[in-house]
């Protein structure tokens, strides 16, 4: 009880919980869930973009895309390491991903069949991710908060690059402009749904906010995101596919239309465009790499033994 009081006091003071501190099991569990889901999203998120590296239409874009996907792998590594400070190994987390028990961001269950999707993913998906993540830089768990500081900086670079891809397309030929618009049409609503269900229907959110793992509600973050992208869309000259979208001077915010939450649930439960594809590719890479990891283990054991002798 004294430990719980100390923990609550740290939280109340906006101080950070560190790996060696005592913490309630439910707090630990919620953190592992959130951090590993975040890590999984980074590595699954490599797929739709990785698929375009070989076809990027200029060497500059190829380099930027390679760097971005590599960044995502790096973030995944970083987050798994941070989560390991809570006592769960990376292998355990990966097993949970591969068996379908653990989730990753549902946004990656959409397909990226067009080069313009590299723009939309950067601008909208990474944009929404940042809006979600910036508050996490102040997350109460130290390693997570510090990881997020680094990751957010890099992600905002990704968002900018996505925006630039779309800007180049919108300044290009008619075909390129159509490509950009078609892609944004597909990604707009799914990006808005990345903030999660409306607050009224989001049970996990409340506890996370009390523990200061989470700092703003889903709907607050979504509003902030819409307010951010509307002027950016104007600069691009791209139309956001929502007829109800307009400035509300009373609220000082943009109003926007209802989202199709049935579709959201559908994708979440596996009936998206790519769910089983993403998981199958991840599983295959892992299975095909088994002999390499085994060789590395065998070699490490052998050298450890010979060093002892």
């Amino acid at each position: 009880a004294a430990r719980l009081a100390a923990f609550d006091a740290l939280i109340a003071d906006d101080k950070r919980i560190e790996p060696t501190d005592w913490m309630p099991p439910a707090y630990r569990k919620a953190l592992v869930r959130q951090m590993s889901q975040h890590a999984h999203s980074e590595i699954i998120g490599m797929q739709p973009e990785g698929n375009w590296i070989t076809r990027a239409p200029s060497l500059k874009r190829k380099a930027i895309l390679m760097a971005k996907v590599q960044d995502e792998a790096g973030h995944g590594l970083y987050l798994y390491s941070a989560a390991e400070t809570l006592g769960t190994t990376r292998d355990e987390m990966l097993d949970a991903l591969h068996s379908g028990k653990a989730k990753y961001s549902s946004i990656f269950n959409y397909l990226a069949p067009s080069w313009a999707d590299m723009g939309s993913i950067g601008w909208l998906v990474d944009g929404a991710a940042i809006a979600n993540q910036v508050p996490l830089c102040r997350a109460s768990y130290g390693p997570y908060g510090r990881a997020m500081v680094r990751i957010c900086k890099e992600e905002s670079f990704h968002q900018r690059q996505g925006f630039e891809i779309l800007l180049a397309l919108m300044n290009g030929t008619d075909e390129q402009r159509a490509m950009a618009q078609e892609s944004v049409n597909r990604w707009y609503a799914p990006a808005l749904m990345m903030f999660g269900p409306p607050d009224a229907e989001s049970p996990n959110s409340r506890q996370s906010m009390a523990w200061k793992i989470k700092r703003f509600s889903n709907d607050e973050l979504r509003q902030r995101f819409v307010d951010m992208i509307v002027p950016q869309a104007e600069i691009l000259g791209i139309t956001l596919p929502d007829p109800d979208l307009r400035w509300n001077s009373e609220r000082g915010h943009h109003d926007f239309g209802e989202l199709d939450w049935a579709e959201f649930q559908d994708v979440l439960h596996g009936n998206g465009q790519a769910n089983s594809l993403r998981l199958a590719k991840r599983r295959a890479a892992h299975a095909e790499g088994e002999w390499v990891r085994e060789a590395a283990r065998a070699y490490a054991e052998r050298t450890a033994t010979s060093e002892r002798m």
Binding site: I43, S58, G289, R302
Partner: protein, 245 residues
Amino acid sequence: ADDVARYALGLGDDALVLAQRLGSWIASAPELEEDVALGNIALDTLGHARSLLTYAGSAWDQTEDDLAYFRDEADFRCRQIFERPNGDFACTIVRQLVVSAYFTALYRGLAESTDATLAAIAAKAVKEVAYHLDHASLWTVRLALGTEESRRRTLTGLEAVWPFVDELFAADPAADAVPDAAVAPAGLREPFDALVLPVLARAELEVPAAPALRGGGRLGVHSEALGPLLAEMQVLARRHPGAVW
């Protein structure tokens, strides 16, 4: 300048085609660390390609993208080892061992080039390829001495890659034309051997006996693997000629 450009073009094509191959490992590597590592190496290599192609193109008023996306197969000058499909991880690692050692020897020499631009590109690149060589050496030893299966795969990879090694040191008319600016390919054999043979020895691997293939990449003779690679690489750019990205 035209002669030097032709020389730079060959070197640039080597790096470009290799970067394209390495780029398709991403999100499929055997562990996350290797997704990062191979991505990093691909990116470095692409960087070398861009510097070299930009420099080559400057002599002909062409951009790096003109050269990368709008030349046909027979106009590419890459040596055939860079065209090799990735195969499994062991095959990629062995190819990396060979080409990183070659690049290390090459860029060391080229850093002394009388051509200031080439010397500058090489001076930067030499530090990066040293890392690539470390990475490949470490894995070669690990895989060769790991498990029975990893050793078998390493041997298969070595046998597949080695017949392309000699071509790296074969005559290159573009290099001969600019003896001061270029590094003579034949002269790279010794430093290459000095870098690679000790690694093979540590890995308890023998140099395969299979005879060398004829090569000819610098003359525009390519293996059958380059065509499909270029088809994929160039498809989008060619579908939108004149577009800016």
